[in-house]
Point group: C2
Chain length 347, copies 2
Amino acid sequence: MVERGGSGVPGGRRKQRVSMADVAQLAGVSSQTVSRVSNGHPGVISSTREQVLAAMRELGYRPNSAARALRYGQFNTIGVILFSLSSTGNSRTVEAIATHAAAEGYAITLIPIDVPTQDNVLGAFTRMGELAADAVIVIMEIHLLDAATVQLPPGVHVVVVDSDAGDRHSVVDTDQADGARKAVRHLLDLGHRTVWHVTGPETSFAGQRRTQAWRAVLEEAGCPVPPPLYGDWSAESGYAAGLALADEPDCTAVFASNDQMALGLLRAFHERGLSVPRDVSVVGFDDIPDAAFFVPPLTTVHQDFAEVGRRCVQGVLSQIRTQGDPRPGTDLVPTSLVVRNSTAAPR
Amino acid sequence: MVERGGSGVPGGRRKQRVSMADVAQLAGVSSQTVSRVSNGHPGVISSTREQVLAAMRELGYRPNSAARALRYGQFNTIGVILFSLSSTGNSRTVEAIATHAAAEGYAITLIPIDVPTQDNVLGAFTRMGELAADAVIVIMEIHLLDAATVQLPPGVHVVVVDSDAGDRHSVVDTDQADGARKAVRHLLDLGHRTVWHVTGPETSFAGQRRTQAWRAVLEEAGCPVPPPLYGDWSAESGYAAGLALADEPDCTAVFASNDQMALGLLRAFHERGLSVPRDVSVVGFDDIPDAAFFVPPLTTVHQDFAEVGRRCVQGVLSQIRTQGDPRPGTDLVPTSLVVRNSTAAPR
DNA sequence: GTCCAGCATGTTTACGTAAACATGCTGACC
DNA sequence: GGTCAGCATGTTTACGTAAACATGCTGGAC
């Protein structure tokens, strides 16, 4: 925290930064005593303590975290490398990470990657390495980390969200496959002959998992597997898919890989005069807060982003505290199906 | 960045941390030479440089940012204190802040405040003071900062988003009033006799500004001012307001203080058999990506969150670089009205 | 051949903090 | 009354880095 010269520092106009030594001098004690007061250590008589505190107030002293970190060898900070903060779940995951980290006395340092090239990912890691972070959480829905070419630097505590690198890293993720199975089975249980599907982008690991599960359930149930429609998470792509599906006379049920695309479907069907759920049933994924207020309210798969964030923090902290190797493996957070009014039995 | 013992460090199993001295020893040079190589300084002969780089690779050296920050007196980090990351604009603002900061070589440290009490805000500031940050951006839509009781510590570079503390701090914000005026005038221009309004929460500065502007435009135009309906930004509160408004025979136009509440309105009107925009026109605020795919596509006020983030970064960086006092004042980012299909002339 | 400029590299020091160790005083106990 | 335990406080040192200054070598000019 760089101080502006002047304000709050009555005497020294040019003094850029107040150190323990300054406080010590004003209080007439050694800097070690200031340190003891600053850290609440015992063994400082109360009159001395008061003097030191007064000097701190007068000078506007605030401890220098760089020096502290240097001394302690840690920063009490967790780095978060992510691709997009705006995508549905990420901001909520990050918020949960920040909240839980704060509860443990850790702050969060964000490094966004605008274009997810391998260079940028590595660059972010380098930067993070140069920054103050005791561990790193990587939120990277794309497949980069799965490619053997991109490796996270060894010797760093890492937890990865939304990846299938569970063989090499410690991974936390929503149980995408289970969520998708719930969605598709729900539609089949209602009596639909089969379920159409709007995918996420091909680069998305989560999207692929959902699509795989959709296909698996259909095959398992002996249902025909319609060709999937390719979306990119946006409502617009869902809308486009919806216009196409409206022309499919056989289509009575659609599983969209997220709620935004489901929203696009709803609008497309509405424009084409198809009633949801009377003519077509729609299930989404994510359970964004707005989903309950779509027309009609959307049946969707609820993701517990807060829990994902919590487990990430838990994961890195346990690595930090035990100084242990990251335990490769995947920690899956369960989902639940929220049934609203966008699904019904076919006519 | 704390290293795990062992991996990547062939020789020293117990070596926790690789320093320049270790690299220097292995390369047979002084640590200063390592420093020069590390920072790309000239004056190192290429053969020496290669040796040093090789040693760095072998040991997995990464610079220690704490030591660096201590040496340089700055962290290349901007702290962001915010209330909620999930609320519509914040995540996009933060993302823009992070992106622009990254472009300038700065990272972002997030401190979330779960419950916005004064104690917590001050606590966050204290924590931030103890953390590595050269400046702070406060994103706090609530009124806390406006109360004279909560003061930001003097001597810290600060930019505040979403506040009316422009007399005391450097403030960046969307031009809420102008956006609201555009929305209300649009409806009046279409021929509506007056415009009803669903507010944001009372604690929100932005919400208050929008509501004030709504009222001002109506009064200016000599229109009757209907009692505002109180919302809390959620679609649910918009839905409740919509059910109430559906019973108002005079209501032909509604200005909702955000898009989520507008979504709630749309659903309520739909359920009550009112057609939008034939029976009622609706305007939102924010222009969330989904708004274009509501049924019907929502006319709304577009906020340029990215620009807000950009100006925040610009603001703190100029403070850092000039070491100048923050220049109190409010930097307003303009809005634009996006006309879609939820508004029409009254019947 | 001498001298010095110029350059690669080494040495010293300081950044602010806090652990570890040192000091010196008070007071209780024999 | 002397000794020493206990405690408040001071001093030394190290954390890792990089600026500032020091050193010592090479080679060109006279």
